[in-house]
Subunit: 426 residues, 4 copies
């Protein structure tokens, strides 16, 4: 199922006048504040977020999973789903594959399909937290950190295999999320686990193509409930430094202890040139993987405020890899992703409205009240007309979610795939 | 120092055109969504938040306090400060006194001063968490829960004295924040502490005038670090039920364990007709008492969404007492309070924009995506023109903070009071 | 596989002398402190903890599950496993069934098997958090709280069916863990969800046999990540009161927000006569369901201190239902349960050592230092000889875990059941 | 007030027989487990913990402070208090001064007094979180991180002054706890704050004598409630690396977000040779500064398990500076410190009982059950007779707390100092 551009144009017609009124008014207001609306629209249009292949079916919890209808049952269908998102939003122009769930059969066909959907292949993701059928070694007691050299070798080799698959598709980065850790105190020697991990990562790193990056995720807990080898940004940063200049830390919003100041971590990593990528989601309790912006949108804005600052002021930090990493337990996954994409663009647009010079001036006077006013003035602005305008200019939908429903896309997918198709993955 | 109305009008003139443009545009947009702007403006104008007398000077932490300039050194000056806030915002029409920090010398003079500032006296607050000079008994080991009957009697009597002071001023409610608890496991018998507390509260309750209410706060920790007698809403609710129908639970936003779903507590209490009052502040870590809306504005909106729902649908619950309870450690306290008042009104206005019928319809279809859209549509709306309009119509400032600075109010206060005046209280 | 008593005796012989030395020394020491060792031994022997039928196979997380070998594949095999635990420890004399995972085919045969293993049937557990094959209605959007009356009726009827199954087996209580809630703000109306839940629980309650109890669990989050209908003890307590005197709150140690003072909740509920049961486990982050006592053994002791106090002083509270509710992700489930049983008995024994009179006297003098000393003196005592003695006197193993390994029980189970048998359940 | 050795001997006589019985039995048991009791006793005797000068008076919270009786009002009296602790326990042989609260008038006299009490001067602590009378610049908006160069210079100079004072006393290390941060989002630019901090620390470092170390503390929040410049071990570690080889990270147990795995941090830092010191306390909610071991004694044991491992296996890490950093809000500070010292020695002794070889063997077989058994076997052992024996052999009290009371030391101090003396400091 591919979205016809005419469909989107027809949808846009319905809301065009309303949108134009809103955009013009907001644009006029921003002009008076000396904001360069044109530049903001361009930045919004250029901001592309990867969709992970595993997020297109229903997720679940350890207590079970309620399936959704018309889930993509193959890599091809996953690409089509991302194509739908991108056609509507013009901001989801990449897909991030998870190996072994998404190994292509025919690389050329897959690349052509992606290309036809205007998609590129973002970071590839390895999986050493589950045992694969017929695998020689089990990851029950860890993978890259395992005491057993043979397990480590299998896990390293898997990562190298993932790189090779990524190379064939045009990916330029590998994301390593290492679930290794311990469920009980005493189970593992921390130093041995960390040393093995460092060495394993170095082995993977040495197989990295020249123009690739390696992203090292961190997470304090889950699926291990006592300790995780790469428990925080400090550990990831230390490991990235040990590996070399192509290794970076990746921040997943849900991978922090309660109350962590994430924007400060982002800022520190960019100062040090070591922030590689970002996984978006939201959470209230743990790694809930909820829709982006559905719980703490102001926190997301504050993070984007640092990202925007860093992108302007930290040439030492490379371009970032952006990805949504959410789980869709009860909503239509595509609708959920549309909401996440909107929330990301919203936070980005608001951050772009922050007057950095004025802020710096207020900071230099320790005018704390005014500093807060400057941030809140940007945050309180209703930027939805900017997002719609950026999309419309790129050929996307003014209102993606309404168009998705109006065009009865899910119904079409169900017709194609059947009610009970099941997405590969978790 | 009293604010002259002409000053405010002069200030408003400067921004009138800009405001009118914005209000008219927003108003037009809301009309199209069938929102009754007039009603919303009326509700905003009627919404009055009490200012606690202890919030007008600089706060601090256990590590010290950095004083602010021109702090109010007497009850009269505190009333003047609240008068300034109310003149600017028309939403701070009440003051909440803390006894023994604010015992009036001349009740008539105090009442006249309040009246001249268009202020009423909201809930009176007792203090049994500190020892007062020359007090017979110490609260080191608790007050209403103390094992020693003589201490309990002193604490009960203090609360009754507070009621009497409140009566003379026209207050209609007593707020009991009980810091009692234990710093160490084993220090107190939980059941004895709870039973003594219940009996002490009943004694206070029995001295409550017919048309008064008693508010029982809860808090999980601080200043006690092992247990607090009234540790959560469940305990407060149980005690309020034990006392009688004039006893209610009071919710302070900062008095919860990490990640608590506060809006659900609010909703439950209103369903049961037992929510009495609300203390506004914000926090990232503990009971930080930060500026309202400065950390989690979306959470505040969700809470207001339940409050608005309850005010419409729960006649069993009485009108609520609203108060700010924040600490101003580094900002000008009056500026900080202006920001808090704005954030409260903003959350209220956004909650008023939620289309409750549409929401209920979406809920009835389990259309989770749409439910979220409805809330976020209201939340994303920039309601500042509504707040400004409501204020302007009531004779307040279109932009209170700018006017406060433009009118050089703090400078005036410093001239009157001197640089180093110190507010009574913490 | 049934454990032969002679085997245990033979095992005990190996360590008898060592044990006797230790027990005699400890016993002598306790005598000097005026502790009644005989009574303590009797209480330990009488303390029986139910094993849930779902805890006998490997658990997992949303990221997958690593199976264990020789898992029980039928209700009969689950009973045999609990039989092994009870034979070794003499403290696991009950099994708690989960319906529909454990519906007996032949009730008489099952009862005879249980009886042969010296086991009774503890609380039966309903499941309305997963959809069962061929179920008419789905619980995707809730069960007892569902907006749809037909779903609620199905869920109520399921609970009634569970009661009927329990009656045939001799159970005397029903545990309701309600996962209902919302993943997103706005998804459900809190008041409607709570009211429906109350009414559904009342319907179930009305089907409760005269001599039964109903236990209502609470939990702040998971599997729902925004709100849970019965989020805390206050809500459970309110619902239990609404249902009637046979309804009680059940405390699961893992079902609390970070830093909750659980022992205070226990104490309050016993004071009010509303604590019905207890689910043991341990956790560091969320509802980790780790081995009892493996993370915070002192917290467990403090809880037992309140339980012991309540059992002595609160005749208004009924006898409690004790159960382990842990998940065994990487250990042999039976070994893990042996460790949990030991930790429970240890905490209980230490709590029995607390000199309640001395403690009360110290509390009455506010001698905080001494209060802490009294608790820590009990806690620091190595009570393992007491547990071993209580077991030995009842015919159990002096060292259950060593005997389990020495007798090669897991190997026997694998031989019987095959390597890859899979337990029914999660 | 100096404790006479004869007094302690007399006290010991009262409990000698009881102690000897217990020690002999335990010693025999440990012999059978091949534990080298003699070595353990020697290590316990050598383990010395510094007492901070500010912990000898009552602490408080932002809500107030309840003073204690007979507090030390001068540096001399503080040294006497630590002398009492050391005489009783023989494990508190150092005092850690806080400047400017403890600036000596007469260095020789102070050193002689310390020497007479068998005390050395441990790390000196600077204070740039409070304004001192007549200070030129204010730390309201930060010290080492301040935007204003003049403030930074003052703060750097203060640290250098502290070093100089320390040199005169024989200290060999400086502890920098930097409270700098922000109360509100936007208040400070993170990168500027971090860069200024790094440069300020380097300036201090360059003034460090050759044989000194600099310890850099971290803390996530309080007294700042939005961000703290050195928020976690990763930031401290990065700064220590930037400063040089004499700079180390210092871990304070209370300075972590909820649920942090502290032992893993300890282990990582020792592996990297960068753990410099340790501040002991305990906490349930935030930085509660409760008595060591009064909340989570098992967590303390797990931390000591890593410390013991590191001290044996990480020659790259220097000897550690040990200090108690607790606040005594309602207990007699000296009693509280005696309880803390006991808890520290207990955790250390238990960690020394862990059979590291056996543990490593179990880990190498992934025998998770056994790993847990090994730790718990050590933890469950009642090691109090070992502590008492180590003290007795060194001339200390078998039961320090009982002796403290029996000798009526507090009464003596009150007689000397008066009831209402107030300790300098917080």
């Amino acid at each position: 199922m591919q979205l016809n551009k005419d469909h989107i144009l027809t949808e846009n017609k319905k809301v065009e006048q309303h949108h134009t009124d809103q955009f013009n008014f907001l644009s006029g207001q921003l002009d008076k504040q000396d904001k360069d609306v044109h530049t903001i629209l361009r930045k919004l249009a250029n901001f592309q977020v990867a969709i992970p292949s595993w997020a297109l079916g229903a997720g679940g919890t350890r207590f079970g999973r309620f399936g959704f209808f018309g889930e993509p049952a193959s890599l091809e269908q996953k690409i089509e789903d991302v194509g739908v998102l991108h056609a509507l939003t013009k901001t989801a122009g990449a897909i991030s594959l998870h190996i072994p769930w998404d190994i292509p059969q025919d690389y050329n066909a897959i690349k052509e399909l992606a290309s036809a959907n205007d998609l590129v292949f973002d970071a590839v993701n390895s999986n050493t937290f589950q045992d694969q059928k017929n695998a020689k070694e089990s990851y029950r007691f860890g993978s890259l950190s395992n005491l057993n050299a043979s397990v480590r070798e299998q896990a390293v080799q898997h990562n190298i295999d993932v790189i090779k698959i990524g190379e064939k598709l045009g990916s330029k980065s590998l994301t390593v999320w290492l679930a290794d850790g311990a469920n009980f105190a005493g189970q593992r020697n921390f130093q041995s686990a960390l040393t093995h991990t460092e060495n394993s990562l170095k082995s993977i790193y040495s197989a990295l193509p020249e123009d690739w990056k390696m992203f090292i995720e961190y997470k304090p807990y889950e699926p291990n409930f006592y300790s995780t080898v790469i428990q925080d940004w400090g550990t990831s940063f230390m490991l990235a430094n040990a590996c070399g200049e192509k290794a970076y830390t990746l921040v997943d919003l849900g991978h922090h202890l309660p109350n962590t100041n994430i924007e400060q971590i982002v800022s520190t990593l960019m100062l040090k040139g070591k922030l590689g990528g970002f996984h978006f989601n939201d959470s209230k309790y743990g790694d809930d993987d909820s829709t982006v912006g559905s719980v703490k949108p102001y926190a997301l804005f504050l993070i984007f405020n640092e990202l925007v600052y860093g992108m302007e002021n930290n040439p030492q930090n490379p371009d970032l890899a952006w990805m949504i990493d959410a789980s869709h337990n009860i909503k239509d996954p595509l609708e959920d992703l549309l909401q996440s994409l909107e929330a990301i663009q919203e936070a980005y647009a608001k951050a772009l409205l922050v007057d950095q010079e004025e802020l710096q001036a207020a900071q230099s006077r320790n005018d704390v009240t005014l500093c807060q006013e400057i941030l809140q003035n940007a945050y309180r602005t209703d930027v939805r007309p900017l997002l719609a305008q950026a999309r419309a200019l790129s050929g996307g939908a003014i209102d993606p979610l309404k168009s998705y429903r109006s065009l009865r896309i899910r119904e079409g997918l169900i017709k194609e795939r059947g009610m009970n198709s099941v997405a590969t993955g978790l």
